[in-house]
Structure formats: C-alpha cells, structure tokens
C-alpha cells in the first residue's frame, strides 16, 4: 500500500446469538488510506482479521441504503463516512440503534418491512386509465409536491435517530411516514383516505414529539420529520372536519 498509509483503531460492537448473552466491544487495528470509508474499514476486518464479522452492504455509493451503522453514536451510511475524519482517535461502530441486533452490525428489519407494506407504497390510481388513453400527466409543481419524499432509500437511519421509535417500536416512524406522504400528495394517487387511517391510528404520527433528529441524519434530505408533522395537522383536520361534513358523504 502507499506510504501515506496509517493505522486506525476500529471498535466494533459484536454479538453472536449462538454464544453471546449480550453484545461486547472488540477493537481492531486497521491500516487505512485517505480514500477509505468506514465500510471499507470493516471489510478489511472481515477479509484479514476476523472473518466472522457480519454486516450489510451492497452499492458502496450511498444509494442502496443497506450499510447504515452507528458511527461514534451517529446514525450514518458507512460507505459515505470516511476513516480519515476520525483519525487519530478510535472510531466506534455499532449496529443501528433502536433495532434488535440479529448478529454484529446486522439488525432485524422485519418490523420496518411490515410498516413499509402497511402504508401501500405505490400509486392507487385516482382514475383508471387504459393503455389507449396514454400516460398520466403531471405539471412540474405537482412533481415538486412529492419529489423530495420520493428520494428515500429505506436506510432506516431516521429510525436509529428517533427515540420515540426506540421507546415504542410500534410507532410507524419517520421513513415509512415520509413514503406514505409521498404517495398521498401525488396528484395521480387516490389512496389518501385509506392511508390516513394509519396516520391517525395508535401507531401513527401522534407518537412523534418533534425531536427532529431524523431529518438531521437523513442522507437523502427527505426531511421525514416534515412529513410526520404535516400529517399531524392533516389527521387533526380530518378528525374535526368529520363533525362538519353531513352524513352520507354528500358534499
């Protein structure tokens, strides 16, 4: 390797369900160069120091959302976080907070996947169009209304940043709510009424106490806190408008 190679200490929270009762820290000495990410650091550990270390990754370019870890206590994508920024201090790596640890840096994301399904993350067409009728058209303003919320890569960093999710794992949480909002404000979609039931439910937005850290850590600037809080207003409006609307749904 090049001459500007240095050695950094990486402290990893290990947990192997077959033999460990509780997780424990393990420190590795990792040679690194300036262009190496934290993900490359843990890959080095797996390749050369301890092959049993488990973690998820795929794209290594901040787009697949699978490499999220707590790095020095902050939820981060390990592929876009660089070792040089921590040197000469030790860097601490831990599985994403608030999720159960399956093994080492791998979390159990079943709960999140269920939530993702529950919000119906697809367009429920307002009016069905046949192929002959052609595509659905949208103005740039209509695109603007939801575009930011469509950038979510399901990395779950926002969940690791949300103490309310940590305290009540049932809470639908920032990421799923951002996606729910993305479809609700899409001009082609007609599924809002169905999704609003979830928004206003026991697991819905009212768990949120506006801590706001979720939006801070989001690598795609989705601003999930904004989606959650806008929907508090929407849910409250729905609730009160119900009393005003005449029965039978007539306008």
């Amino acid at each position: 390797m090049s001459e500007n190679q240095r050695t950094i200490e990486i402290e990893v929270l290990r947990y192997h369900p077959e033999k460990d009762k509780v997780p424990y820290q393990q420190v590795f000495q990792v040679p690194f160069t300036d262009d190496m990410s934290v993900l490359q650091g843990v890959q080095y550990i797996k390749d050369y120091l301890d092959g049993s270390l488990s973690f998820r990754w795929s794209c290594r370019m901040a787009i697949c959302g699978s490499c999220g870890m707590m790095i020095n206590g902050e939820p981060s994508l390990s592929c876009e976080t660089f070792l040089r920024d921590y040197y000469p201090a030790r860097v601490r790596v831990e599985a994403l907070a608030h999720f159960p640890i399956e093994r080492d840096l791998v979390i159990n994301m079943e709960g999140f996947i269920e939530k993702l399904e529950s919000i119906q993350p697809y367009i429920i067409p307002k009016e069905k169009r046949t192929l002959e009728q052609g595509e659905y058209l949208q103005t740039p303003e209509q695109l603007n209304a939801y575009e930011q919320f469509s950038s979510c890569i399901n990395c779950m960093l926002c969940y690791a940043a949300c103490p309310q999710f940590g305290l009540n794992p049932e809470f639908i949480g920032p990421g799923a709510m951002a996606l729910l909002h993305r479809y609700n404000v899409d001009s082609r979609d007609g599924g809002k009424a169905e999704r609003m039931e979830l928004v206003a439910s026991e697991e819905g937005v009212f768990h949120c106490t506006a801590v706001g850290y979720c939006s801070e850590v989001c690598p795609k600037h989705v601003d999930p806190a904004n989606a959650v809080n806008q929907n508090k207003t929407n849910a409250a409006a729905d609730y009160f408008l119900r009393f005003l609307a005449p029965k039978g749904g007539a306008k």
Binding site: Y15, P17, E18, V22, P23, G73, E74, A97, H98, P100, I101, E102, N108, E141, N144, P163, G166, L167, T209, A210, V211, G212, Y213, S215, E216, D223, A225, N226, N229, Q230, T233
Partner: protein
C-alpha cells in the same frame, strides 16, 4: 433449531447519548418555566380580583430577591425555548411557496424569531407606557 436470538438494547438514559437529544430535553425542560410563569401571572390575577390590598401584597412579594432571580432565570429559559421552537418550526409546517420557490428554512426561523422579538418589544413598551 432456530439459532436466532435478536438482542434488544436498553433505552435507559437515551437522552444522554447524543448532544441533539440533550438539546431536545433542555428545550422540553424550559417549557416548565413557561408553565411556572403562567402560574405566577394567574396568581396575580387572583389577587387583583380580591381588591387593592391583596394586589399590593402580591406586588410586594414580587420584590423578593428570590423572585427577581427566578424572573431572570425564566427569561433565559424562555428565550432558549423560543429559539429552539423556531429552529424546529420549518420541519413542522407545509412548504411555503413564494414566487414559485420554496422558502428556505432559515427564512422561516429568522422570520419567527423577528416576530417574537417585535411582539416582546411592543408588549414591553405598552406596559412601560401604562406604568408611568
């Protein structure tokens, strides 16, 4: 046999884990000062309703150095609360579109703080005018 045994980490002391959470807890904590101050004013109103003598007792009580110290503390706490309140405000409202462009977060926070400062000033001047 299933070897899975997902480990759930405890949440004890969660708010000490990150400076962001500490700031959030201070923000929430300063709300107690807002409530306490409302209590003081209500108490004043109660005394006022009982006539001039009772009102003067309340006014006299306010001159206690401990009370004055509390007022200074409350001012600091409520200022901090105001600041963090408007800092989070852009995250809690629908986008404001001005001239086809989305108003940046800084403008919303700055606008909120300016309105709060102006309202406080107007109130201060009004009370000042009435007291003279």
């Amino acid at each position: 046999m299933n070897k899975r045994r997902p480990y759930v980490r405890p949440m004890d002391g969660w708010w000490r884990r990150n400076p962001f959470f500490v700031e959030y807890m201070i923000h929430e904590g300063t709300a107690l000062f807002v409530a306490a101050y409302a209590g003081i004013l209500l108490n004043g109103l109660l005394h006022l309703s009982r006539g001039e003598a009772a009102w003067n007792v309340w006014l006299e009580g306010l001159k206690n150095p401990l009370y004055i110290a509390f007022h200074v503390l409350a001012l600091v706490a409520i200022s901090y609360h105001t600041y963090t309140w408007f800092k989070i405000m852009p995250r809690t409202m629908p986008p404001v579109i001005v001239g086809g462009k989305r108003l940046p977060d800084g403008a919303i926070t700055g606008g909120g703080l300016a309105v709060a400062a102006a309202a406080s000033l107007v109130l201060l001047l009004a009370v000042w005018g009435m007291a003279r």
